[in-house]
């Protein structure tokens, strides 16, 4: 009996205001989802800003949409700078080695000489910046210079290095002289 109804029933209508409220309610989850995700993104970015200030100090703007491309280009520019520095470093190193090599053979020569008690006569030294050539005589009963140590020391740095005993003769009594030459290429 409760359900008796003799009306044909009117069509359900909504006023514009109600309709708009309904639409608003239905799109509210989407809006809130996007706004929350945007806020989370901002939160993440501020966290990144705090942990990597050096990166973000180099960014022209903090617009979220262009951030990735900006960071990418920053990475690229940093990489090229790193390469430049590496190359410069390499050059300086090479230069240093080059300069070192200019005098190294002389130092080894004098160092070895000062270790022995024999007398020496340096007959000639030639160095044109690329090749060196040392010609000397050692006076003594035996040659105290070990060609092997010298070879080991200098072969590391010089190409075609050779230390050779050209001549060995009696000079006075048991005194002998030994004619050596060292040569090599830088």
């Amino acid at each position: 009996m409760e359900k008796l109804n003799l009306s044909s029933g009117k069509k359900r209508v909504y006023k514009l205001r109600t309709f708009l409220i309904l639409i608003f309610i239905s799109i509210l989850p989407a809006i809130s989802f996007f706004s929350v995700s945007y806020q989370l993104r901002l939160l993440k970015i501020s966290e990144l800003l705090r942990s990597y200030p050096e990166v973000f100090n180099n960014l022209s703007s903090t617009n979220v949409d262009f951030l990735e491309s900006q960071v990418n280009s920053l990475i690229l520019s940093l990489k090229s700078r790193e390469n430049d520095i590496k190359r410069a470093n390499e050059e300086i190193k090479n230069q240093l080695v080059d300069v070192y090599k200019d005098t190294y053979f002389l130092r080894v020569f004098f160092n070895e000489l000062s270790k022995t008690s024999n007398k020496f006569f340096l007959s000639g030294v030639m160095y044109d910046g690329q090749r060196f050539y040392i010609d000397y005589y050692e006076y003594g009963s035996v040659s105290q210079l070990s060609t092997e140590t010298i070879y080991n020391k200098l072969n590391k740095y010089y190409k075609d290095f050779a230390v050779s005993l050209l001549d060995e003769r009696n000079f006075l009594g048991d005194l002998k002289y030994f004619h050596y030459i060292w040569e090599g290429k830088k």
Partner: protein, 306 residues
């Protein structure tokens, strides 16, 4: 129907008079917002309930196949009614299951219905149109067994024979409390409801005396109608003896008292109704019933508060 609140507007049209009851439905509760003794325009979103007078309603007991879905049942009932009455015009049909697989069907010709709305100045089609006497009966708790409900309404009265919740017979009586009220107004200068609400003992005494003079006439009409209604029950042949009781539904305490004093054998069967909600002196039972019916359309109704 709004989104957050549901407003129900109930119109009670009687003899050119209109009253509007506006209420909000929320959480199984109906809260009456305002009551007007005139026609008040409704909002397009409101649930509109109107009463519908018995002079345009026709009833029939139909034997329908057991169909569960209400809309299908109504469609079948409509076809059946068209067949029986040879109708071609549009009709609005509603039916409730009754006893023995029969259905108590009510129908109104759409042209009559529209004319009724037009003459009362309602230019929207209401959501619900509910028959007058049944709106009063809606608020009354239906008792198990065979009971006769006598509705003494302000404008229409009727006798409904029921078995539990099933309607077995319905008969309109040609008396109304408004007529009685007019008699009293002529004598005292006040309406019956005004006198009752005022609590003026002198006036009450005066109207009691007037009522006593017409009491026997009134009672004889009512008892005659009860006897006729019981005897003309189509579904089941019953006698007055098997009736468990007679419930008298009237808002006027004075009329009720007048009838209950009568020394007839039948009066012993008379009882007071058990109402499902609280009644308010300003609002008629019919109007409350209409607003209650509107609430049922939206969900359960536990209470009506003002």
């Amino acid at each position: 129907m709004g989104i957050f609140k549901n407003r129900i507007v109930a119109y009670n049209f009687n003899e050119g008079q209109a009253s509007t009851l506006i209420a909000n439905y929320r959480n199984k509760k109906i809260r009456i917002k305002s009551y007007h003794q005139r026609f008040v325009e409704s909002d397009p979103e409101d649930l509109v309930v109107v009463n519908i007078p018995w002079d345009i309603i026709q009833t029939a007991f139909l034997e329908l196949p057991p169909i569960k879905k209400e809309s299908d049942r109504i469609r079948v009932a409509e076809l059946e009614l068209r067949r029986i009455y040879n109708l071609n015009e549009d009709i609005n049909v509603s039916c409730v299951p009754s006893l023995f697989g029969k259905n108590f069907a009510l129908f109104v010709r759409r042209a009559d219905f529209m004319r009724f709305l037009e003459t009362n100045g309602l230019n929207v089609i209401p959501d619900i149109a509910y028959p007058s006497i049944l709106s009063e009966l809606l608020l009354v708790k239906k008792l198990p067994g065979r009971w006769v409900y006598v509705v003494l309404g302000e404008y229409t009265s009727g006798v409904i024979v029921m078995n539990g919740t099933a309607i077995m017979n319905l008969r309109i009586i040609d008396i109304s409390t408004n007529e009685i009220s007019h008699l009293i107004k002529e004598e005292t200068g006040f309406e019956l409801s005004e006198i009752e609400n005022s609590g003026n003992e002198e006036l009450i005494e005066q109207s009691k005396k007037i009522l006593e003079t017409i009491a026997s006439d009134l009672f004889s009409i009512i008892s005659r109608e009860i006897v006729i209604s019981v005897n003309t029950t189509e579904l089941e042949k019953i006698l007055l003896d098997v009736i468990d009781g007679i419930v008298l539904i009237t808002k006027s305490k004075l009329i009720r008292d007048t009838i209950f004093i009568e020394g007839s054998e039948m009066v012993k069967k008379f009882t007071d109704p058990v109402f499902l909600t609280r009644l308010y002196p300003q609002i008629s039972i019919s109007e409350l019933g209409l607003i209650y019916r509107g609430g049922i359309e939206l969900g359960k109704v536990k209470s009506i508060i003002w």
